[in-house]
């Protein structure tokens, strides 16, 4: 069983619209928001809250009509939670992304696939498409094994 990471079930919603409108959206409490592109926003909430996320987004974007779009992407993304003191080291073995010291949302290559990352004070949440979840899991497993085998420092 992995000790440093786990796949966490969550709800994910994507919203598309004019940048200034997306800038002004307010996520419900406890929901992580990441700006994926100028016209795209990602909200991640607890498992089972997908409908609530979609409703919140749709209501806030309702005035835009078809100039905005909202989709449930809960099945499309897998979220890996990296925890523990070695989470940074585990992450660094699979990604060249510099984790911001003050947290936040970053994007880039993780384990060879595009990823979105929420950097939180006690964890890193790495989101990849679900079709590569197995692959990313095996990479994490392998790296965790090597971390245990040869120690944390390079």
């Amino acid at each position: 069983m992995p000790e440093l990471w786990a796949i966490t079930q969550t709800a994910k919603a994507r919203a598309f619209g004019p940048p200034e409108t997306l800038d002004a959206l307010t996520p419900p409490a406890g929901v992580r928001a990441g700006r994926v592109a100028g016209d795209e926003l990602l909200w991640v909430g607890e498992v089972g809250t997908a409908e609530a996320l979609l409703t919140a987004l749709r209501s806030q974007l309702a005035s835009l009509g078809n100039r905005a779009a909202v989709v449930d992407h809960s099945d499309g993304y897998a979220l890996f939670t990296l925890t523990g003191d070695q989470r940074g080291e585990l992450f660094a073995r699979l990604s060249s992304i510099r984790i911001p010291a003050d947290g936040g949302f970053v994007q880039g290559n993780f384990a060879g696939v595009p990823s979105r990352i929420f950097c939180r004070s006690d964890r890193l949440e790495v989101i990849v498409t679900s079709d590569v979840a197995w692959f990313v899991g095996t990479r994490l497993e392998h790296v965790e094994h090597s971390l245990h085998a040869i120690g944390g420092a390079a």
């Binding site: 619209g17 078809n66 073995r93 699979l94 590569v132 090597s146």
Partner: protein, 896 residues
């Protein structure tokens, strides 16, 4: 002074047992055991002895337990190792290829001999080349030596310091004191481990204690940098990891080594760089020679003489260079001469040195010549990074006593941390001396005479000399010879422009790098899986790669799967299709530009096949265009085409400045195709929606509920039977799949894989993009002009298609094979007419329904007419060009 103690361990060298003392490298153990010649040279198989003892020169390359190119002077010795010399045929002492070193043979093996000798008669080279290849090369690859799976780690320090000598450690401390996070990498297991006792080692030990106590500094031991890359990015290879560091600034403190001097016999075993001889003496308590002559010139020569004397070496003379104005401080009683070394005598080992000095010429008997004449900066890395925020420190910048060097390096480190400008030395300096005889390049056996010949032949500039003679291209990568080459180039072309003797370009790798190190962390093959992967495994599926996807090849019997679809019902996982929701106020205009056929007239609830073209009119992908409502479309593209299609669409959307939302739903949605004459009966048991022929006709789509799961059902006919693609939330794929199989049990439902699908679609004459098309395939070439509407004002690829309308050089045709054999030609098989090659097969199957082979093939246009006959493959199967689909040409079955 080190006091190595014998250990009860040993390794084998050419079958001889070599005892190991504590702290031994392979090289020191060999030297202690009296091994003078450790390897042979690349070309002439001249004897190679220990020279630098620091891993810089090419002389001590050996093969260790199957690993080639190991510098044995720095590799720690271990019990049970099997060490073999390199470039040796037979044994080190009896190497028949040593005859290459006969003066006569030199005439036949000048530099670049493979360009100008053995070329005529023409039959000669093909016979000689294998022999040359057999004897050339560095070591023999052990094919059983599997590569390691090394991991990679990324680091983002403020400053990376390369070199853990006194300057490097001091620079690291300076940077850390200025607030920077620092990584310092050193090639030794312990920084300073290659130093003998003395002021330098004392300084290193003191600095090392400070570094280890500093939280801002991470010290990487046994770690080497092999290049500086843009970014900057510095790959650091350690014993178990490759650290890709991306610092803000780099301090290179890789030090210096004594210059290789050029004179007759300069490569004979027993000629050693001063620091190398001192390492043997002070680190391993080995007497490097009984009697030594020392070529002086550096500020360290006095220390070197003292170290040699301490282990019992008699220093017969110190030779100071001509023009030396101030003699260094030397131990009392040492004879000093001012002049130059003109020749080393001896074949197996140095036996004497001839010196020309003010008073004449003298031959002094000795078995060791120490070269401490001048220092060459270890600058390979530095020269790679001149356009980066790179600083130099220590001997690399300027040779100086250790205290001065440490003090200055601290300031260099602080400047690097503050992002201030760098102080760099003059790079690629010419050698101060280069004699008229001897070897310039000891990696590749290039002599002064070889260089002279090359210049005579017109290869006068350093860049040409390098390529023609291979100077600087061997294992030392120019460390020993770059400055000497520049000096010679200048001397041999007097008055020429500076370019002639300029520096060559320094490139990675600066240090040996193994292939498994280069691929560290990159060995894994990206694999995409659908939500049904494990379900397929449970059904006994075998898989194949389809791009990055793993798809089901078959479940055991392709024929059974095929027949189920033709005669009953089958289900296939098509979740790998690229799937997009595209919407927005400009979506119709966008898709009209993107697709070559009409989109605006597709009514909601309907769909149309569409090609995606590039600007050259070449088919990029294909799929379906489903109109959900006025401003929302659902598009599919081929398996593995999703990422490229998404990039293509976003690129065009941004170029055209349209308001269109492109949502890649490939991973969010699963898709299952149910097809076959009984598909409707099975599906009807799972849905209350109207799926009758009239209620849900061919080429329609709408949302229906199947087994309680909301699906976008798309009525298509890729396999030529009644069928629906059911697109649904991926998390419910397993549920839907199980329901379909259960409902179909009574009708003999069968899951089918890619192979059955390929035959089914081939019978319908459908192409597979990238199997039946290539990077030149336009719709014209595949008879798909019906999918192109040139009357449209504009679409991607239109101009090219108009231009290419009449210029096809190949056509894709369908053929029917003759004969009842169930064997079909290989895909890729040759198509022949009158024994001339006229094309190649792209898809080939034996059709169980039709009872003969069928296929698609590219042929020249003149052979594309219906009825054309040709032969296919090595079995010369007779085949005839046919038009239209092989199966259900009218489409009655799929419209049923």
């Amino acid at each position: 002074m080190a006091d190595p103690t014998p250990r009860s361990e040993s390794f084998a060298f050419e079958g001889r047992e070599i005892p190991i003392h504590s702290g031994d490298t392979i090289g020191s153990a060999l030297y202690r055991s009296g091994v003078d010649t450790v390897s042979r040279s690349f070309k002439y198989h001249r004897r190679r002895g220990f020279l630098c003892m620091s891993g810089d020169c090419p002389n001590c390359l050996v093969q260790v337990d199957g690993e080639t190119g190991v510098r044995c002077c720095t590799r720690p010795a271990a019990d049970g190792m099997k060490v073999e010399p390199q470039n040796v045929m037979g044994s080190l002492e009896r190497d028949p290829l040593a005859m290459n070193d006969l003066r006569l043979m030199h005439k036949f093996l000048p530099v670049g001999f493979y360009y100008k000798t053995l070329i005529k008669p023409r039959w000669l080279w093909p016979r000689v080349e294998p022999l040359i290849r057999k004897v050339a090369g560095l070591g023999r690859v052990d094919k059983s030596d599997l590569p390691r799976h090394l991991e990679r780690v990324y680091r983002h320090p403020d400053v990376v310091v390369l070199g853990g000598g006194p300057a490097g450690l001091s620079a690291a401390l300076g940077a850390a004191e200025a607030g920077a996070s620092v990584i310092v990498a050193d090639e030794g297991e312990h920084p300073g481990s290659r130093l003998g006792a003395g002021a330098t080692l004392a300084a290193v030990n003191d600095l090392l204690a400070q570094v280890e106590a500093n939280d801002r500094i991470e010290l990487l031991r046994s770690t080497r940098a092999f290049g500086l890359y843009e970014g900057p990015e510095v790959p650091l290879i350690g014993p178990e990891l490759m650290a890709m560091t991306q610092p803000k600034a780099i301090v290179v403190a890789t030090g210096a080594f004594e210059s290789m001097e050029v004179f007759a016999g300069n490569d004979v075993p027993g000629v050693m760089l001063g620091r190398g001889a001192v390492r043997l003496a002070t680190q391993h308590a080995i007497r490097p020679g009984k009697v030594a002559v020392v070529l002086g010139g550096t500020h360290e020569v006095g220390e070197h003489i003292a170290a040699l004397q301490a282990v019992g070496t008699v220093v017969a003379a110190v030779v100071l260079p001509d023009g030396a104005t101030s003699a260094p401080e030397l131990p009392a009683g040492v004879r000093t001469l001012v002049g130059e070394i003109v020749q080393v005598h001896g074949r197996k080992r140095v036996s004497a040195v001839s010196i020309r000095y003010t008073g004449g010429t003298e031959k002094i008997a000795c078995d060791l010549l120490c070269l401490s004449g001048s220092l060459t900066p270890q600058e390979n890395l530095l020269r790679q990074g001149t356009a980066m925020p790179v600083h130099a420190a220590g001997d690399l910048l300027a040779a100086a006593p250790v205290a001065e060097s440490v003090e200055h390096a601290r300031e260099v480190g602080a400047r690097a941390a503050r992002g201030e400008g760098a102080e760099l030395p003059e790079l690629g300096q010419k050698a101060r001396r280069c004699g008229e005889a001897g070897y310039v390049c000891i990696c590749e056996d290039v002599s002064v005479q070889d260089v002279r010949n090359a210049v005579t032949e017109g290869f006068s500039s350093t860049e040409l000399l390098k390529r023609y003679t291979t100077i600087t291209m061997g294992p030392c990568q120019g460390r020993m010879c770059h400055g000497q080459m520049r000096t010679l180039a200048e001397r041999l072309s007097p008055g020429a422009e500076p370019r002639i003797s300029g520096t060559t370009t320094a490139r990675p790798p600066a240090r040996t790098v193994m292939l498994d190190e280069v691929t560290a962390g990159a060995y894994a093959h990206l694999e995409r899986r659908t939500a049904l992967h494990d379900t397929h495994l449970g059904l006994g599926a075998t898989f194949l790669w389809a791009g990055q996807w793993k798809r089901v090849d078959n479940y055991g019997s392709i024929e059974q799967e095929y027949r189920a679809v033709r005669e009953g019902v089958g289900v296939i996982d098509v979740g790998t299709l690229g799937k997009f929701r595209v919407s927005g106020p400009d979506v119709v205009a966008f898709l009209e530009r993107l697709y070559p056929n009409h989109v605006g007239d597709i009514q909601p609830g309907r769909l149309r096949y569409g090609l995606l073209l590039d600007e050259h009119g070449v088919i990029h992908d294909d799929g379906t265009i489903c109109r959900i409502d006025d401003e929302t479309f659902y598009l599919t593209v081929t398996t593995s085409g999703a990422e490229e299609a998404e990039a293509l669409m976003i690129d065009w959307r941004d170029t055209w400045g349209m308001t269109v939302h492109i949502v890649n739903q490939t991973s969010a949605l699963g898709a299952i195709n149910i097809a076959g004459p009984k598909a409707r009966e099975v599906l009807a048991t799972l849905t209350s929606d109207d799926i009758s022929k009239e209620g849900f006709p061919y080429l329609r789509q709408r949302t229906i509920t199947v087994a309680g799961i909301e699906c976008l059902a798309i009525r298509l006919g890729f396999v030529g039977e009644v069928g629906w693609e059911l697109h649904h939330p991926a998390s419910r794929s397993e549920e839907l799949w199980s329901a379909l199989l259960k409902a179909g049990e009574a009708h003999g439902v069968q899951p089918f894989g890619i192979q059955a699908q390929r035959l089914l679609r081939l019978e319908k004459g459908h192409i597979i993009v990238s199997q039946d098309t290539d990077f030149e395939t336009t719709p014209w070439r595949v008879d798909m002009g019906w999918a192109v509407k040139l009357e449209k004002d504009w679409f991607v690829g239109k101009r090219a298609l108009v231009r290419k309308q009449e210029t096809s050089t190949e056509k894709l045709i369908a053929y029917r094979g003759e004969g009842g054999s169930a064997r079909a030609p290989w895909e890729g098989a040759a198509v022949k007419v009158d024994n001339q090659l006229v094309g190649r097969v792209t898809s080939s199957w034996y059709s169980w329904t039709l009872g003969h082979s069928i296929g698609l093939a590219w042929v020249k246009p003149e052979f594309a007419a219906e009825g054309q006959r040709f032969l296919i493959g090595k079995d010369n199967m007779n085949a005839t060009v046919v038009k239209g689909a092989f199966y259900d040409a009218e489409g009655a079955k799929l419209r049923a």
